[in-house]
Amino acid sequence: MARMKFICDAERCIECNSCVTACKNEHEIPWGVNRRRVVTLNDGIPGEKSISVACMHCSDAPCMAVCPVNCFYRTDEGVVLHDKDVCIGCGYCSYACPFGAPQFPSEGAFGVRGKMDKCTFCAGGPEPSGSPAEFEKYGRNRLAEGKLPACAEMCSTKALLAGDGDVVADIFRTRVVQRGKGAEVWGWGTAYGSRQAGQAPAEGAKS
């Protein structure tokens, strides 16, 4: 199996926020934390486009590169996860992430930042899969239950695709061929390299 990836089909997204709701419900995310959100480009202008954004589990993850305590790791499925027992809540990953994925729940007095929280591709964390300890810290581990991320499975128009990168790319390609437009995959060039987004790589750029 290739690595896990997200694709948001901007031609299909209707900004219903069912992905956001599904994510918050599945993982019991507290107030103030949004692992996933829907962003509308050119809001109010005819031809506006909406996209669902969360952690893209980048090939060359900037959060992983800047973390001073090395709390991030990538699984064999290409999912970027982190260990909340190691995270110190410094917020460097938040500044580094091009998608605004890292979230920091306010805890205690004076709005002190808690441990970083982000999309796990519904793959939990380092604790035993499906254990209460894992659910408490990272939410449900749907991959270990033989399911796909809740956001994609609950998407009403199937705009948000999640799973094996080759399969979701193939599904998206079929759609583009059928409708004859909307081949742009928002965020893929940034997350997986420009070659993944169908553009020639820049001179000396990392892929």
């Binding site: 060359d60 990538r74 699984t75 996860l81 899969s129 999640a162 059928q178």
Partner: protein
């Protein structure tokens, strides 16, 4: 002596640059339980064998096609 001082300074500067390097971002599957090992709860989707990677991958592929690919259902 002057040459030695210059060399020492250059060596220290180079050593200081080591901190600017990036760590390799290799997959660290050993830090976590593999998802195909299955979750120990009552929510596991039936139809695949926990611990069998091929079975898990096939199950997810089927789920992707049936759940996300409209064109596989429309003739």
């Amino acid at each position: 002596m002057k040459r030695f001082g210059f060399g020492l300074c250059a060596a220290l500067c180079l050593a200081g640059l080591v901190a600017c390097g990036e760590r390799p971002q290799a997959n660290r599957g050993d830090l976590d339980t593999a998802p195909y090992a299955g979750a120990k709860n009552a929510f596991v989707d039936p139809g695949w064998q926990a611990g069998d990677k091929v079975s898990w991958e096939q199950h997810l592929r089927t789920r992707m096609q049936r759940g996300q690919n409209d064109y596989s259902r429309i003739p």
